[in-house]
Amino acid sequence: MHHTYRRRVVLRGVDFDLGSHVLAGIVGENGAGKTTLLKILAGELRADCGAVRHRGRFGYCPQEVVLNDALTVRQHLEFFQTAFALDDLRHAERVMEALQFSEYADVRAGVLSGGTRQKLNLTLALMHDPQVLLLDEPYQGFDWDTYQRFWELAAQLRDAGRSVLVVSHLAYDTERRDELWRLEAGTLRLETAAAA
């Protein structure tokens, strides 16, 4: 996959395969092209050259929180329930419980704290139980407990057969990921891989 912004080459030959039962991470410095790569994987951006192939439905959590400030948490869930054609919100409620923000169900997004907004942002990406998860800096604004719970959740999803890709600028807690890739100079380099 190749991508260029005007004259600045951001991705120059990225080839990446995300298998099931894998919790992978991509790290890189600011401006390395991580968000560009994830946007291409999620379909928000078209690569200049290359193709993306998904097997199974996917969930995408964008780096910037994308919510409607006028709607409550519950209204967000109901809106996306219709979008995903879900019969019920049981899975969304489990995600909310795991991230511990169920008590904010009737609060408008515009008055939520930054961390709770991010929890909702993440829940919207997970509520349809996707097989592939593309998460861009998903724990921004989380306190330590929530950060820990996020990784527990990611590990549970991985254990349940999902493919989880977490993009972040820090290679912190690297042992939590099965694979760690570094995006540098427009290419991906595998830093660590889990033992088979």
Partner: protein, 290 residues
């Protein structure tokens, strides 16, 4: 059919909730319209303003404050709908895209926005007409309301276009205010000596100004001018639609768009169920799968 109805009603409900929670727009609706038309009526002299109305071919000489109240009301309703639609488009662009990429059909999202605009425009037109009727009696109040309605629709669509194209909120506000003021002021014979200049025929609310003036001071109807205004609305709406389509595009090829659950594919689903972690506290739901 039920799914289509559910998609439409859900999107419309949340679109209306969003508009209703736009407190500034609500304040404008409640106070700005009666204040604006009231002040115009009280401050503009009632001296007759003779001119020839193009839509009916009649020579009219209405009272200046009544004529200016009509252009003031047009100015007010166009600003309110323009502002409402601009604000919701400007702040909601990425949210709409997220919904579309999650599988929400863009047609239903657009129809919901159109329904909100029609409803808001109808309420505003009725409210502004009622506010004017307190001071004097237009000859054709329903035609007056229809002219205000069509102008409000047009500026709502212009608000969508500006909300999609401009990068900063203040730019959109300035563009809307200046467009509406220039558009309508140039057509008022009291304010502009060149109100009958052929160039004014190209202004966005020309059709509504002609129809509304006929409604106020003549018994002759002006359906062609309402149609002209609706043509302006159609063009602005088409531009808004193209901008919305561009902003909510999905770069993935169609077979890749598995964002929402579709028909089950046993090859994928079976191992997923079999290999699920038994002790997981976030047990994936047995809902629809690929």
């Amino acid at each position: 059919m039920r799914r289509h109805l559910s998609l439409f009603t859900t999107a419309t409900r949340y679109d209306l909730i969003e508009h209703a929670r736009n407190r500034f727009a609500m304040l404008l609706v409640v106070f700005f319209i009666p204040t604006w038309v009231g002040l115009v009526y009280l401050t503009i002299p009632d001296r007759a303003a003779p001119f020839r109305l193009a839509s009916t071919g009649e020579r009219l000489a209405p009272a200046g404050h009544e004529l200016t109240q009509i252009t003031g009301a047009l100015n007010a309703v166009t600003l309110v709908t323009g502002f409402m639609m601009f604000a919701s488009t400007f702040s909601g662009g990425r949210f709409d895209r997220r919904l579309a990429m999650a599988g929400y059909p863009r047609t239903h999202l657009v129809l919901a926005k159109a329904a909100s605009l029609v409803l808001a425009s109808a309420l505003l037109a009725a409210y502004a007409t009622a506010a004017m009727c307190i001071a004097w009696t237009p000859k054709q109040p329903y035609l007056l309301a229809a002219a205000l309605f069509c102008a409000a629709l047009t500026y709502g669509a212009i608000g969508v276009v500006l909300g999609s194209l401009l990068r900063r909120e203040v730019e959109g506000m300035f563009a809307l205010v200046m467009t509406s003021v220039i558009d309508i002021a140039l057509q008022n014979p009291i304010v502009s000596a060149g109100a009958d200049n052929p160039l004014t025929h190209l202004l966005p609310t020309y059709g509504s100004v002609q129809a509304a003036t006929a409604a106020g001071f003549s018994t002759t109807s002006a359906p062609a001018y309402l149609a002209l205004q609706l043509l302006w609305f159609a063009v602005a709406a088409l531009l808004g639609l193209l901008a919305f389509h561009h902003r909510t595009r999905n770069a993935l090829p169609r077979p890749n768009r598995h964002h929402r659950p579709t028909t089950a594919e046993p090859r994928d689903a079976a191992p997923l169920e079999a290999e699920r972690a038994p002790a997981s506290s976030l047990d994936p739901s047995p809902g629809p799968r690929n």
